[in-house]
């Protein structure tokens, strides 16, 4: 027998012949190249055999010439299978629908888990996530990358310091670090508050301890601002009744900063023109789907966005990529002297703010010296800043001032 699978693909028919001269009939068939096989005899004058579907037409011609009667009793093979599938289309539709549903469900968000956030922040995050489409039952395909979600959340919720977004299977895990951390455990060892820098006291707020300075006093670094020693004078001297001094002492402090700022500034900016190409990747082979042709821009930046598809827990090797080419250009800005100085001042202000605490404010600034040479503005500025200068210093027993 030849390759049964090939025959199966073309279709196999079981024929029943009855009548006289069956042997002669079979001889004529074989001589004319109609291949038959599995010839079985069922009693006298009845023989069944199998043959190819393609040969059936020729079989009919020979059957007419002979005295035999032929019947087709069984149809097997791909063409009949196809027919049956078409007839029972519901099954096929069902099977396809099943696959599609499994595929969809595999690419859905089933859970969003937020860890490390207090209820209020969690609620805010949930709301924000819903806004960008990250919620139960949404398709992952339309959701931004985890990095994008991370950026969006940190930009839009100011309570968050950092959020880690991870997609594991069908669940998004968000690990949150909040800015308002739980309050530090109280310091219970007795201490004084001393000055960190020199400055002039403008405001005091003492929670515990004995203030040693008054508003408008000038203090030197290391000077005691709030003493931890309490009680009457004797006790204070002996240092027997000590408490951890707490409070904030705001003082005007002075900074001198020197900045250099170029009058000519080049920066890379996007022109707003962009070109998007879409690909479907089969394994590592990208197949362009939309957006053909070369990128027209001279200078551009490329952003790639890859979406993977999953089937159940497996990632199928087909993915979708969109590449965005953004045209960029060098922009040179030249400031005149006045603008340059203004920019330099702004720059200096930002630089000093970065160095200071959050609750420090700039009270005033004076330009001490300004010069424009070699295309650069050199400024030295004197800043008056109001900040908390109190710093804890533990009191060591027996050591009194």
């Amino acid at each position: 027998m030849k390759n049964q699978w090939l025959e199966f693909y073309k279709g196999i028919i079981t024929v029943r012949t009855s009548g006289k001269g069956i042997e002669r009939f079979i001889n004529t068939l074989t001589r004319d190249g109609i291949s038959i096989w599995n010839v079985k005899s069922h009693g006298t004058h009845i023989v069944t055999f199998q043959m190819k579907l393609d040969d059936v037409k020729r079989l009919r011609i020979y059957a007419r010439k002979s005295d035999c009667k032929i019947e087709f009793i069984k149809r097997r093979g791909f063409p009949f299978l196809q027919q049956r599938i078409l007839r029972n289309g519901g099954f096929l539709v069902g099977a396809l629908a099943f696959l599609i549903i499994i595929f969809m469900l595999s690419n859905m968000v089933w859970n969003v888990e937020i860890k490390g956030a207090n209820p209020a922040t969690e609620y805010k995050m949930m709301k924000e996530l819903k806004g960008i489409g990250v919620s139960k039952g949404k398709l992952q395909f339309f959701i931004d990358k985890p990095e994008g979600i991370q950026r969006h959340l940190t930009n839009n919720i100011k309570e968050l310091t950092w959020v880690g977004v991870e997609l594991k299977g069908t669940t998004y895990y968000l690990q949150v670090v909040e800015k308002n951390e739980p309050k530090k455990t109280e310091l219970f060892s007795p201490r004084n508050l001393i000055a960190k820098k020199k400055g002039m006291i403008v405001d005091m707020f003492v929670e515990e301890g004995t203030p040693k300075v008054k508003i408008n006093d000038f203090v030197k670094p290391g000077q005691i601002l709030v003493s931890g020693a309490m009680g009457n004078e004797e006790e204070e001297k002996a240092g027997t009744n000590t408490v951890p001094a707490r409070g904030e002492v705001f003082a005007e402090t002075w900074y001198k900063s020197k900045v250099q700022f170029p009058l000519k500034k080049t920066s890379q900016v996007y022109t707003g023109n962009e070109q998007i190409k879409h690909y479907i990747n089969f394994g590592s082979l990208p197949l362009p789907v939309w957006g053909f042709g070369k990128v027209k821009y001279e200078e551009f930046e490329t952003e790639e966005n890859v979406k993977n598809f999953k089937f159940l827990k497996w990632e199928i090797p087909i993915s979708y990529t969109s590449k965005t080419f953004r045209e960029s250009e060098q922009m040179t800005k030249i400031y005149d002297h006045k603008e340059g100085i203004e920019e330099a001042r702004k720059f200096a202000r930002n630089a000093i703010k970065n160095d200071l605490d959050e609750n420090a404010t700039i009270k005033g600034e004076n330009v001490l010296h300004q010069a424009v040479e070699n295309g650069k503005v050199t400024l030295s500025i004197h800043f008056q800043i109001i900040e908390n200068i109190a710093e804890g210093q533990p009191i060591i027993q027996g050591d009194s001032e």
């Binding site: 027998m1 069956i22 042997e23 002669r24 079979i26 001889n27 074989t30 001589r31 291949s35 038959i36 096989w37 599995n38 010839v39 079985k40 005899s41 069922h42 006298t44 023989v47 055999f49």
Partner: protein, 93 residues
């Protein structure tokens, strides 16, 4: 007369030139695997077939195969593969 001469020539050639006899003399070549398979080449057509008997036309005479549960697995113009339980293979003049 001429036919007989030709026959003699062929017989002589097969004897002296070591050529296979089935090719030269149009004889059937029968291969059997135990009792279950019989493969016959160089037949000249089916004469009778039932599940107990197969009769084949040869160039000279006929071949009768007896047994039971016969199934012709393949049949081609000059070849036939028969399956079943073969009891006897008989040449009929």
């Amino acid at each position: 007369m001429a036919k007989k001469w030709g026959h003699l020539l062929r017989s002589w050639m097969t004897n002296n030139m070591e050529l296979p006899q089935d090719v030269m003399m149009d004889l059937p070549r029968i291969t059997m695997i135990g009792q279950i398979h019989i493969y016959i080449e160089n037949h000249r057509g089916l004469l009778a077939f039932s599940d107990k008997e197969l009769r084949l036309l040869l160039k000279q005479g006929q071949l009768l195969v007896k047994g039971n549960a016969f199934v012709i697995k393949t049949i081609l113009p000059e070849e036939i593969l028969l399956e079943g339980k073969i009891d006897q293979v008989i040449y009929i003049k």
